[in-house]
Subunit: 126 residues, 2 copies
Amino acid sequence: MKEGIVVLGHGSRAAVDEANQFLVEVTEALKALYPESLLESAWMNPRTPRQKLPEAVARLVSQGVKRIIVLPVFLTAGLHLKEDIPEILAELSQKYPGISFTLARPIGFDPRLIDILADRLAEVRG
Amino acid sequence: MKEGIVVLGHGSRAAVDEANQFLVEVTEALKALYPESLLESAWMNPRTPRQKLPEAVARLVSQGVKRIIVLPVFLTAGLHLKEDIPEILAELSQKYPGISFTLARPIGFDPRLIDILADRLAEVRG
């Protein structure tokens, strides 16, 4: 049974699409790790022209996926993760009663994140 | 010459302070790595009651710091990093002409971030 993964990021309305491109890169890297899963990117920000969570889910469902994991590319559990995303997932569960939805944890505190931040500091210290 | 580091995150207005507490944990971990620097956390979200960038800088300046690195705990260069933070730093540079300010890069795409996301997926797959 094929598994679907929605790689869900914040996105930006910024004219330069760098903040949106980041999520594309993350999704590509995860596709390489999970070649047997179907992956879609989705953006929360209503002001980005990129695909949103319901569209990503519709695409996965149309490809026969029965189990969908939503992977939030968010540092912390702010309001999107506490309220907006669960609300959208509740609606999608009603719309697609045969599909199971699971929301993963956000990135959160992690020693690997501290390593990356230490590198960012080192870059400007020279 | 003492160096100051402002660990600058987004913050959340969420009633549960988890998204703000995350930045405290990140700052504590960085303090352990840089015991000779002075570190302050700061939050961008105007709706969080936590310390903002100008207050963090004022505290560092009052302790004799001459060089301040602002380390953004943001995944991408969205509008905060492209516009809001540079504007605040320009104002602070005028207010404190003897202090040098340097803005580090955001977290960005990194294989270590992909590792963490793979762990978050593994948690819900069981």
